[in-house]
Structures are given as C-alpha cells and as structure tokens.
C-alpha cells in the first residue's frame, strides 16, 4: 500500500533533527509539524517573520497579529522570536535554516523544482518559494508521486525536465512521495526507500527518468 498523507507527513518528520531550524511549506508540508516527537527541539520558521511557530490557538487565544505564512492564525512557542520580512529572508538567503520542506507540481531528475505557476490557469505568485529553495541548505519535496486523474490514469510529476515555469534549478536534495523516498545525487534519482507493498516496477512506471537503486 502506498503511504497515506499522514504517513507521508510522518515519514517527512523523520528528517527533522534535534535543534533544527525548519521552514514548512503550505499544505501537506505544514502537517509535518504534527509528527515531530516532543523530545526534539525544533524551531519552525515562518517567512512573514517568526521563528518558533506553535500550534493553532484556542478560540479564546486567537490574535489577528499572529499568523503564519499561510495566513492562518497560530501561536508562538516559548523561545519564539519575531523579525521583519527582510530579516526573515536574510536568514533564508544566508543559509541559516537547516531544512525546507515544500510541495511541488513537477520535479526533474537533476533537482529542478516547479511549484509556483501553471501558465494561463491561475495568477498566484511564487511567494517565498524561490528564496527558500535558493537559500536553504537542504530542500525536501513532499508530494504525491503522480497526478491521479478521475479516469484512473495518471500524469507524471517526476520528469527528465520540468515543463512548467521553474522555482529553482538543481535545488532539491530529496523527494518524499506516497510511493517512497528518492534522493537526487550525481547519478540521478536514487531510490532510498519504498513504501510497503510498492514494487520497483510500479515506482519506475510512475517516474519519468530511470531510477537507480
């Protein structure tokens, strides 16, 4: 069985080491925080200027001035700090963060990432994603392995080359999907882990470039 979304987030949480400063992207990457063991000291960074994001507030604690990069109301953990946007990105660009986990529309075998735009469809913007992938030391993509269509067919997301506008080139270190964990190394895409019950043939069939083992 492929990993569920929760299992994917739990697998990604294993990447967080004690003392890490981490940025989690919007969507499934945000859920990774729910699976971090309590004995690990992790500082979650929010692009809008916070280190030390806590859980969502109780209804009585909601404060319009305390939000995360997804514009959700949050809390701050003890030891949290607040900074301006320019300083928030100084620490991103300056390579001070240990890890960035974010979603993707497409990734390529050499570590290119496309996650901000589908031409002609939607006008949203890159937000802080281009800064994060350029500046953060280690970048992990957390996403479904393929785009599943209603008729049971699928569309590849891991390709030889991305066809959508890029967020960054040669920036991804590791990809965690519902089918397994892939590393981008000098050879190409290397499989480091398979989800239970997923065969080599299946993950290869759902991946554009040739996989190494």
């Amino acid at each position: 069985m492929a990993w569920t979304k929760s299992e994917m987030a739990a697998r990604a949480a294993q990447e967080l080491q004690d003392g890490y400063y981490v940025n989690l992207g919007i969507g499934l990457p945000t859920a990774v925080a729910n699976f971090v063991p309590a004995d690990k000291e992790i500082w979650l960074h929010s692009e809008n200027g916070m280190l030390g994001i806590g859980p969502f507030p109780l209804a009585v604690e909601v404060d319009a001035d305390i939000i995360n990069a997804g514009k959700e109301t949050v809390t701050m953990i003890p030891g949290a700090s607040i900074m301006s946007s320019d300083e928030s990105f100084a620490m991103v660009r300056g390579g001070k963060l240990d890890l960035s986990i974010l979603g993707a529309l497409q990734v390529s075998e050499n570590g290119d990432l496309a996650n901000w735009m589908i031409p002609g469809k939607k006008v949203k913007g890159m937000g802080g994603a281009m800064d994060l992938v350029a500046g953060v030391r280690r970048v992990i993509v957390l996403m479904e392995h393929v785009v599943r269509k209603a008729n049971g067919e699928w569309e590849l997301k891991i390709l030889k080359q991305c066809t959508l506008p890029l967020t960054g080139t040669r920036v991804i270190n590791r990809i965690i999907t519902d089918l397994g964990v892939l590393d981008i190394d000098s050879q190409g895409l290397r499989v480091v882990e398979l989800a239970p019950g997923i065969s080599r043939e299946e993950i290869q069939a759902k991946t554009g470039p040739r996989l190494f083992w």
């Binding site: 916070m50 209804a59 946007s85 320019d86 006008v123 800064d131 350029a134």
Partner: protein, 235 residues
C-alpha cells in the same frame, strides 16, 4: 517637529498624486494600514504603481483600491487571495510584476539604505532572471536586482511616540520596517500614541527618522484571513 496628523485623510493631503510609486506594509491582511488605504481610496488618485507583498482580498485592504481601478500596476510576491485582481490581471487591465518575497523585502530595505542594487541567488534559472545581469561570485551564480524607492510608503505599527519612533506587534511587523525605510515620505498608522520618552530606546523597532507623518487609528478591524483554531477535546 509636527509629525502627528488628525486623520488619515489629513496625513495623505498634498502627498499622494496620480502616477506615483507607492508601497504598503503588511502580509496578507496582517499589519496593513487600513485607515490609510481607505484615505487613499477617498483621495481618488489614479494610475498608481503599488508595491505590496499581497494585494489584499476582495473588498478589504488593497482590494478596495483594485475595485476602484486606481492601481495600474502591482509589484507583489503572492496575490492568490483576490479574485477581482486575478480577473484584472488575466484581462490585461492591470499590470503585475511578480517578485520573490525575499527579493521584494530586500529591494525595499536596500532602497531605504541607499543601496541601488544587490546580488541574490534567488530566481537564478527562472523567469525572474529574464533581462537581469547574472554574475558569478565564488563559483555561484547571482542575479542583480534593483532596489525600490517609493514616492510614498504607508505602514502600520502598534505604537508610536510623537517623534515617529515605531514599535510593531507580533507578526504584524512583516514588511512594515523595510517599507518605512524605503519611502521618500513615510506615513505610519498606529494603534497607540505615547509621549516622547515613554518608549525605552532599546524597545524601538524603527527609529522615527524614517517616519514623516503619523496618524492614530485606535480600532482597526484587523480582519483575519484564515481563522484556524485548536478545538478543546471533550467539547
């Protein structure tokens, strides 16, 4: 020095004109100068280019200025929350320049600090790099980005004294300090006004040298974009 103005309208009087480059602080709807945006709508100035990380939502924040058609161009990093804006962009009524969020913040900070351009690795190899100088330092490629110096900057702070020294609150700080630094003229909307000497010099986030006009709005709406809460178990 007389920095304090009796109303947002008075604070913008004689300052805003058609065709100007304006910057507004805020992230989403958090830390936006609500009363100053309303006053800008009332001023009727048009053909504005507005620098702001986001474009508000339909009917609130900068969304109000989009509905009145006063903005010709936006310089932003993310505008996903505004349908009217999306419509105006797709129909070509409004120009949109996407700038990565960290680059946008640094363009403003650098603009205020007298640095005309800087190099960053953000955006190398993407559409952001089009028509920009790429230069290698220590084997790594960087883009040259020009900084921004708006004619007028509108910011939101929590507290100010009569000298315009600002204290921000929580994540409502966001782009406000850099926007304030960058403006040729900067107007600050604050919730609380205190006397000179009441703020400890160490607690001031932004010195008043960057702030030219101050207006008090003691009860901003502070609309929440995504109200997310933890449910108490057993409820």
């Amino acid at each position: 020095m007389r920095k304090l103005y009796p109303s947002a309208q008075a604070a913008l009087d004689g300052l805003v004109h058609d065709g100007q480059l304006l910057a507004a602080g805020g992230f989403g709807l958090c830390g936006i100068p609500e009363a100053l945006i309303d006053a800008l709508v009332d001023s009727g100035v048009r053909n504005l280019t507005v620098i702001s990380n986001n474009a508000g939502v339909d009917g609130f924040g900068l969304g109000k200025l989009l509905e009145t058609g006063q903005i010709r161009k936006m310089i932003s990093s993310y505008v996903g929350e505004n349908k009217e804006f999306e419509r105006q962009v797709l129909s070509g009524e409004i120009e949109l320049e996407f700038t990565p969020q960290g680059t946008l913040a640094e363009k403003l900070r650098a603009g205020g600090a007298g640095i005309p351009a800087f190099y960053t690795m953000t955006g190398v190899g993407t559409v952001v790099a089009q028509n920009k100088e790429v230069r290698e330092f220590d084997g790594q490629a960087y883009l040259m980005e020009r900084s921004l110096v708006p004619d007028v900057s509108l910011v939101k702070a929590w507290k100010s004294d009569r000298a315009g020294n600002l204290v921000f609150r929580r994540s409502a700080r966001n782009f406000n300090p850099a926007v304030a630094m960058a403006g040729k003229t900067t107007v600050a909307e604050v919730e609380l006004l205190v006397e000179i000497g009441e703020l400890d010099p160490d607690e001031i986030h932004l010195p008043g040298i960057y702030v030219h006009r101050v207006v008090v709005n003691s009860s901003p709406e502070k609309r929440i974009e995504r109200r997310t809460v933890t449910e108490l178990s057993g409820e």
